[in-house]
Assembly symmetry: C2
Homo-oligomer: 205 residues x 2
């Protein structure tokens, strides 16, 4: 069975894919609205990790709606939640998609799906959905990552993370300028991105 794993180039979505790897034919999926080259960057990281990769480009309307939600709420959580749900819907309708996974953790505040939403999503689309890290906390995940992935941590201005927030922030920046954007997103913000994978044979040699 194929598993389509939503992929931001970060630690959590990488580890989610690695957990599923022994059980499914994993394909990484990055969402791109055409604002930043997140699809290309994510593809390079996917190559490093040894996974096949595809980009989905949702309608621009979704990013526009998300920008409105940020401005209305004053912070990005609701908008991130909104984009994630829309992307799940689009992916579920894509040919050949049977199982969708994302990188959500136990202590993630957003995106967050309730059990009843998950049930409804799986039933409506006749797909399976899972979040391989949902039963793990941050410290346990860090332990799992440290011997398996090489990570870089930099300011979000320095590295391009291929998540919803990167394009949403850039979109707001272009539409409304720096001051308005920084009302809703912190100016300085550490991001992590995966560089490469430590394979068993490498760490043993």
């Amino acid at each position: 069975m194929k598993a389509h794993v939503l992929f931001s180039g970060g630690k959590d979505s990488s580890l989610s894919a690695m957990i599923l790897e022994p059980y499914f034919e994993v394909r990484l999926v990055t969402c791109n609205f055409g604002i930043l080259p997140t699809g290309e960057v994510a593809k390079q990281i996917a190559d490093e990790l040894g996974f096949s990769h595809m980009v989905i480009q949702p309608p621009m309307e979704i990013l526009e709606n998300a920008a409105e939600i940020v401005q209305k709420d004053g912070f990005p959580n609701g908008a991130i939640n909104y984009i994630h749900r829309q992307v799940l819907e689009i992916l579920a309708k894509t040919d050949g998609v049977e199982l969708i996974a994302d990188g959500l953790r136990r202590d993630d505040r957003v995106p967050h799906l309730e059990q009843s939403e998950i049930q409804s999503f799986e039933d409506r689309h006749k797909v399976l959905y899972c979040s391989p890290l949902m039963g793990f906390g941050r410290f346990t995940i860090n332990k799992m990552i440290e011997s398996n992935l090489v990570i870089t941590e930099e300011e979000s201005a320095v590295i391009l993370k291929c998540d919803y927030e990167a394009e949403l922030r850039e979109y707001l920046y272009r539409e409304l300028g720096e001051d308005e954007t920084h009302k809703h997103f912190p100016k300085s913000h550490k991001q992590s991105r995966v560089i490469s994978r430590l394979r068993k044979q490498e760490s043993e040699n």
Copy 2:
């Protein structure tokens, strides 16, 4: 890092251990109150799976309290929840235990731990706790199991499952007799137990 995985000999706890295997030194742990030989049966299955195994014997008082909870509630959920929490506490205080895992799934009703309880448990005992299957639903788990484990499914009267319920039911049966026990536990009840593991090389040869 060591991971101590609570193990009932069933599909869920076996798969939980297999998910952790690439990242931790896994040891399976079966809880036994001395009522049924669940420790020995679980040890045999652990050997089949290729994991080390230990038995913990909590104070009999815990099973007695659980039996009272069943009779008060009229169904076993609260008692199972109670035993699970007590066992987690005992395991967390055991020498050399740094990370505790259990086989809880997304759609399990019991045992169930709230996020705030998990946080408190980890903080109080300076241990990590995870439930590797918490982000997975039943159908996805079955897909993961079907190419990796050989399972038998039988009436609970036929096979001995090494979970809390097996000893709790037997304890009630001995104390209160068949009629009283079957008020709280269904008479006929399909159980599954792991027989062996399909290793990659075996399924490819």
